[in-house]
């Protein structure tokens, strides 16, 4: 298979086209702008639509409109822009519409900074807008995974009729790595619910999130959560690295997991039985892998580019049956392997 040296953001954009994305609506923000720039060049040639919106809010609502008609559609932003999209994402989830949203995270809160960060974990997995709902959240840790996961995100968004997010960070977006694009020919998904003009052949379709009757709204929400249960059973994914005999389980996602892996290797060289458990999906969270690891490991160490957000899910997964300690850098500071190794050593004493 052909290998190309590409920036994470550009590889992701190319993968979206190959996955059959027909429309992209976005607004400029660092550090994700290469996605827009790439698609501005390539989308029309691929027979799709690229449109720069007047705001993040307009962009996500253009996504809502295009998705309502049944096409594959994507938007991309970075942390402050994702906050602006929250309203639209809630409506999209409440209308059972599929779409793909990219968040190339930067430091926050507020305008924060433009360096890599993982401080939007809670937002992505807990509070992506008002109301009871979840979105699928994928956490790539390489340029290749930026490609693979965007394809998967489109497929699962369509399958479950819900938004899917790629929760990347500035490091993954900006770095270059060799990448290959698997041969895929997206099979058109039947969308009998789409509002694309009924041609007089069916009753009119309505895309809507409004249910003024309380019992109707409750049953819609409950139906959605039954779907979420199926997703939790089937779609959670993690990478296990040297965890079989590990006494200390280091857990991290995204770019941080790359650094954590180096630290695990350094620990092994020093005879410390460390392993890495890397969630590839953040919602659904791969809890069963943590439950399994907790049977033999004595300690967990959660490493994040935040003040500690994923650690909540780690503790919940293992019902606090083993100690979980935390090491985090924030504001755009990337943890160093030696810093993580120090934390591992503290636990091995």
């Amino acid at each position: 298979m052909e290998r190309n040296l590409m920036k994470g953001n550009e590889a992701l954009a190319e993968a979206a086209i190959r996955a059959g994305c027909k429309c992209f609506f976005g607004y400029p923000i660092t550090p994700q702008t290469e996605i827009s720039a790439y698609l501005a060049k390539k989308m029309a040639k691929a027979g799709g639509v690229f449109l720069q919106a007047e705001s993040e809010i307009a962009a996500i609502n253009m996504v809502l409109g295009a998705s309502s008609t049944g096409v594959r559609v994507m938007t991309s932003s970075s942390s402050p822009g994702i906050s602006l999209k929250a309203e639209g994402i809630s409506y999209i989830a409440g209308s059972d519409l599929p779409c793909v949203i990219i968040n190339v995270q930067r430091g926050g809160p507020g305008l924060g900074g433009i360096q890599p960060s993982q401080a939007d974990y809670w937002q992505a997995t807990r509070a992506m807008g008002h109301g009871d709902f979840q979105i699928l959240v994928f956490a790539p840790c390489s340029v290749q995974e930026m490609v693979d996961m965007v394809t998967k995100a489109f497929d699962l968004a369509d399958k479950y009729r819900m938004p899917a997010m790629i929760l990347a960070d500035g490091l993954l977006g900006q770095m270059m790595e060799p990448v290959s694009f698997p041969e895929i020919s997206p099979v058109p998904v039947e969308k009998p619910w789409a509002a694309d003009g009924h041609k007089g052949e069916r009753k009119h379709n309505i895309i809507n999130s409004l249910y003024l009757q309380a019992d109707q709204l409750e049953s819609k929400v409950r139906e959605r959560f039954e779907r979420y249960d199926i997703i939790k059973q089937n779609e959670a994914e993690a990478e296990l690295y040297l965890t079989d005999d590990a006494d200390i389980i280091v857990t991290a996602y995204g770019a941080t997991a790359r650094v954590a892996k180096s630290a695990v290797n350094m620990a092994r060289e020093q005879g410390i039985k460390a392993g890495l458990l890397r969630p590839k999906t953040l919602w659904p969270f791969p809890s069963k892998h943590f439950i399994e690891a907790a049977k033999t490991a004595s300690n967990f160490l959660c490493v994040e580019m935040s003040m500690g957000q994923m650690i909540d899910d780690v503790k919940l997964s293992i019902s606090c049956s083993k100690p979980v300690s935390f090491f985090g850098r924030t504001g755009g500071v990337i943890p160093k392997p030696a810093e993580i190794l120090e934390e591992i050593k503290k636990l091995s004493k």
């Binding site: 409109g65 309502s68 003009g197 379709n205």
Partner: protein, 250 residues
């Protein structure tokens, strides 16, 4: 016996939730007559706003999308860009279009999005019980201007058609009213022209329809029509503010 008057086919035969005497019913009807006459119901996608017409998706028999508050033109942009061969319209009130959705309105207009915007202006937030709208007249009493709208405090009303007529992407900006039969006929002609513009890919067409809200104006339906004629039309003059085809931009 030949039927000379009947419900338009694209207007669903159910009761609406609109208050008695409200002019939404007339506007729904003439919009649906246009859709029927052009034979485009099966190729049309409508976008509802948040406001009194939030549930219009139940009343129009074409495919419908319910948009977040103010975002209808962005939703319509997405639907139209993905389906350039379909007719896409929004149906919005004044709070939706000229307050919370101002950016979406202005930018879809200046992009020349090939859509139709039906803008129902009754100068109040009807659905939430009659608060001040961007189009509330100076001196008008509402729930949030209990002593009357004071331009020194709350600023001035927005004249949407006049504002949008300055933008190159706008094909048609016309203000109409539904207070009399001749005006209703004029309104229908304007809506027809807006849809014809979309068919001919001319760009953004907005038809502003001056409307009443007897409930929140605290008037009988007949008195509300009188107020529309005596107070609203003088402030919001009827007419064509932009017509690319006619080169009219007055």
């Amino acid at each position: 016996m030949a039927a000379v008057f009947q419900r338009p086919k694209s207007l669903v035969d159910i009761s609406t939730h609109y208050c008695p005497g409200c002019t939404h019913g007339i506007i729904h009807r003439i919009l649906c007559e246009v859709i029927d006459e052009m034979g485009i119901e099966g190729d049309t996608i409508g976008v509802c706003p948040v406001g009194c017409s939030v549930m219009a998706y139940d009343y129009f028999s074409c495919d419908m999308i319910e948009a977040p508050h103010g975002r209808a033109p962005a939703v319509a942009t997405g639907a139209k860009r993905a389906n350039p061969d379909k007719f896409v319209f929004t149906y919005q009130g004044d709070g939706d279009l000229a307050a919370i959705g101002t950016a979406e309105t202005v930018h879809s207009a200046t992009r020349g999005e090939n859509i139709v915007v039906i803008f129902v202006n009754n100068g109040t937030y009807g659905m939430t019980g009659g608060q001040m709208a961007p189009t509330t007249l100076p001196g008008q009493i509402t729930q949030t201007t209990p002593f009357g709208r004071d331009p020194k405090v709350q600023g001035y009303p927005v004249r949407v058609c006049e504002m949008l007529s300055t933008l190159d992407g706008v094909a048609l900006a016309q203000r109409v009213s539904v207070d009399t039969v001749p005006h209703i006929r004029e309104a229908k002609k304007a809506i027809r022209k807006a849809f014809e513009n979309q068919k001919d890919k001319k760009g953004f067409s907005i038809v502003e329809v001056l409307s009443t809200c007897p409930t929140n104006w605290g008037l009988s339906p007949a008195a509300a029509i009188e107020r529309l004629q005596n107070e609203c039309i003088p402030y919001y003059p009827l007419g064509v503010f932009k017509d690319k085809e006619a080169g009219n931009n007055d």
